[in-house]
C-alpha cells in the first residue's frame, strides 16, 4: 500500500512560486528522498501534506486518508522535523518534549529519554539557551518520540556536525526497521544517496523525475580541480569528462564515471594539488538533463 500519494498537487501563491502538478507516491517502509535546489518547492509540498497550507488544486492522501479532510487523524501518526526549528523559548527541553508527546496517543516517556540520550541532548536545559544544533536535536526527538508511522524530515542535517549526522542516520535506519516510512527532503545529493531507496527530483515547483538511487548513482558526478606545476597545461583526455575549463595553472573538470581510471590518469600527471568535491545540485542537474537530452548511457 502506498503510504503517501500525491495527485497533481498544486499550490499557487500570489507572488511566489509554489508547486505545480506534483504527483508521486511513497511505499511502506521506504526511505524516500526529495531533492531540489532551495526554493524549488520542497517545503511547500511538505507543508501542504501537513495541511499547514491548503492546496490550490489536486489532492493527496496519507495512509489512504485525505490530507485536508482527515488531517488531524493523519498527523496522529506523523513525526515532522521542520527545516527551521522554532520552539517556545520559555520552556525547558523536557517541557517541550512532553507537551509535544502528550498530543499523541502513544507517548512513552522512556522512549523520549532514550532518544535524547542517544543524541547527547540535555533535557533539563532551557530552549532559549540552546545552540542551533541542539535545537535541531530537540526537533529530532520531538519528531520521533511517538513512534510515528511516517517521518517527514525537511533538511534534517543542517546544523548537525558530521558525527551527529552519522548518529542521526543510524537512528533513521532503526526507525525504518521498526516499520516507519521516511520522507527525506534535502538539497544535498550525497546524503540522499546514502540514505534513500528512491528519490523525487523537484525543480522550480515541478517534479522532474522519480528515480531509484542506483540510476542516480550511476551518474555520480564529481567536481575536480587540478593544479599543475606549470602554466597552461594540456587538456586531460579521459572518457567521462563532461566539461573541461583551463584557467592559468588550473583545470576544472566535471567528471562522471568510474573513479579508478580517473585516479590512474591523475597519478601520471605533473600535479601540484588536487581537489575532488561534490558538485552543487545545479551542476548535477545540468549534467543530468544533458544526459536526458541525448547521450543516454
Amino acid at each position: 500500500m502506498a503510504i503517501v500519494e500525491l495527485h497533481q498537487l498544486t499550490k499557487r501563491y500570489k507572488n511566489n512560486r509554489g508547486i505545480e502538478d506534483v504527483s508521486f507516491s511513497i511505499e511502506e517502509e521506504e526511505i524516500f528522498g526529495f531533492i531540489g535546489p532551495n526554493g524549488a518547492g520542497k517545503s511547500t509540498t511538505i507543508r501542504t501534506l501537513l495541511n499547514l497550507i491548503f492546496p490550490t488544486s489536486g489532492r493527496a492522501s496519507i495512509f489512504g486518508k485525505d490530507i485536508v479532510r482527515d488531517s488531524k487523524e493523519i498527523r496522529q501518526h506523523i513525526g515532522y522535523l521542520p527545516s527551521e526549528v522554532h520552539y517556545y523559548d520559555d520552556m525547558k527541553v523536557i517541557d517541550l518534549l512532553s507537551y509535544s508527546g502528550r498530543f499523541h496517543r502513544n507517548f512513552n516517556e522512556d522512549r523520549m529519554k532514550k532518544l535524547a540520550k542517544s543524541l547527547d541532548l540535555d533535557i533539563t536545559r532551557k530552549i532559549e539557551d540552546l545552540s542551533f544544533g541542539n535545537r535541531k536535536k530537540v526537533g529530532i526527538v520531538q519528531a520521533l518520540l511517538h513512534e510515528p508511522k511516517l517521518i517527514i524530515l525537511d533538511e534534517p542535517t543542517s546544523g548537525l556536525d558530521p558525527l551527529m549526522q552519522h548518529h542521526f542516520f543510524e537512528l533513521l535506519r532503526e526507525e525504518q526497521h521498526r516499520g516507519a516510512t521516511i520522507f527525506f527532503s534535502s538539497h544535498i545529493l550525497s546524503e540522499v544517496q546514502k540514505m534513500c531507496d528512491r528519490v523525487a527530483i523537484i525543480k522550480e515547483g515541478r517534479l522532474v523525475k522519480v528515480e531509484s538511487i542506483e540510476s542516480l548513482t550511476k551518474n555520480r558526478v564529481k567536481n575536480i580541480t587540478l593544479t599543475f606545476e606549470k602554466e597552461n597545461p594540456s587538456a586531460v583526455d579521459l572518457e567521462g569528462i563532461v566539461k573541461q575549463e583551463v584557467k592559468g595553472r588550473d583545470i576544472k573538470l566535471l567528471y562522471s564515471g568510474d573513479i579508478h581510471p580517473l585516479l590512474d590518469q591523475l597519478s601520471s600527471l605533473p600535479l601540484e594539488d588536487v581537489v575532488i568535491e561534490e558538485p552543487s545540485l545545479e551542476e548535477v542537474f545540468m549534467h543530468y538533463y544533458e544526459n536526458e537530452g541525448g547521450e543516454e548511457k
Binding site: R47, Y88, Y99, S100
Partner: protein, 265 residues
C-alpha cells in the same frame, strides 16, 4: 492541553494585572470617606467646573458624594479601561504569536484541529478575563469596608461587575479576530490597544458637542456606561445584545478565518 500551556504562560502577567487593579480599587475606595465628609464643599467645587467637563466625567449624572456615584465615576472607570486594555493585550497575541514566534509549524503539525486550537485559546482568554473581574469584585468588596455605614446596593454592584466583564469580553473578541488573520504580533497589539483608547475617547468626547454625539454608538464603553446602570438600576437589554452580537460575530469570524488560513512562517 493547549489551554493548560497558555495558562502557564499567562498566569504571571494575569497575577500582576490583578494585583495592580485590586490595589488601585482599594486605594480609590479608601479615599471615598473624605469625599463623603466634605460632600458639600466638593460639590461647590465641581459646580465651578465647566458644564462640558462635568458631562465628560458624568458628574452631572452621578454624585461623587454617594458611594455608588463615586464608584461609578472613579473605580468603575478604572476597571473598564484597564481591564479592556488587558483583554486587548491578551487576546491580540493569542493566535498571532504562534505565527510570529514561528511555533505554529510545531503546534499545527500535532494531531489537533485548527478549531480545537482556537477553542482552547479562547477558553483561556475567557478564564483570564473572568479571573481579573473576580479579583476586581473582591477588591471592591474589601474597599467598601472603608465606606462605613454607606450601604452597598448589591444588585447595582453586581450589574456593574457584569457590565465590565461584558465590555472586556467585547474587546477581547475584537482583538482575537485581529489575531486570527494578522501575523505580526506587534501590529496586532498596537491596533487592539488603539481600538480601546480611541473608542474610550469617542465615549468621552461624544458629550461635548451634538455633532459628534453619534460617535458614542461606535464605542463599546457607551453600552456599559455607569450612570444609567446606577440611576436606573438596570443594564439595558439592547446594550447587552449589541455587545454580545459584536463578540459573537468576532469569535465566529476568528474561527472561520483560522480554519481556512495558510500558515506561513
Amino acid at each position: 492541553m493547549i489551554m493548560e500551556r497558555e495558562w502557564k504562560r499567562s498566569r504571571k502577567s494575569l497575577l500582576i494585572w490583578c494585583l495592580i487593579l485590586s490595589g488601585l480599587i482599594i486605594w480609590l475606595l479608601s479615599i471615598f470617606p473624605q469625599f463623603a465628609d466634605q460632600q458639600e464643599s466638593m460639590e461647590q467645587l465641581f459646580e465651578a467646573y465647566p458644564e462640558s467637563m462635568r458631562e465628560m466625567f458624568q458628574m452631572n449624572e452621578l454624585s461623587l458624594g454617594t458611594l455608588m456615584g463615586f464608584y461609578g465615576i472613579e473605580v468603575y472607570m478604572m476597571i473598564t479601561l484597564l481591564g479592556s486594555i488587558y483583554a486587548a493585550i491578551l487576546a491580540s497575541n493569542m493566535l498571532a504569536k504562534e505565527e510570529g514566534d514561528k511555533t505554529a509549524e510545531f503546534l499545527l503539525s500535532k494531531p489537533v484541529t485548527r478549531g480545537q486550537v482556537v477553542m482552547q485559546k479562547l477558553a483561556l482568554i475567557l478564564l483570564n478575563i473572568f479571573t481579573l473581574n473576580a479579583a476586581a469584585a473582591f477588591a471592591s468588596f474589601i474597599g467598601f469596608q472603608f465606606a462605613g455605614d454607606h450601604k452597598v446596593p448589591v444588585k447595582t454592584f453586581a450589574l456593574l461587575i457584569a457590565a465590565a466583564f461584558l465590555l472586556h469580553l467585547t474587546f477581547a473578541a475584537l482583538a482575537f479576530l485581529l489575531s486570527s488573520f494578522m501575523k505580526r504580533t506587534r501590529n496586532t497589539l498596537a491596533i487592539s490597544i488603539g481600538i480601546v483608547i480611541v473608542t474610550y475617547f469617542f465615549q468621552l468626547m461624544s458629550g461635548l458637542s451634538d455633532s459628534i454625539e453619534p460617535l458614542k454608538y461606535a464605542s463599546p464603553f457607551y453600552y456599559t456606561d455607569a450612570a444609567p446602570i446606577i440611576n436606573e438600576n438596570t443594564l439595558g437589554p439592547i446594550h447587552v445584545i449589541v455587545l454580545l452580537s459584536v463578540s459573537l460575530v468576532s469569535i465566529i469570524g476568528a474561527f472561520m478565518i483560522y480554519k481556512k488560513k495558510d500558515i506561513s512562517v
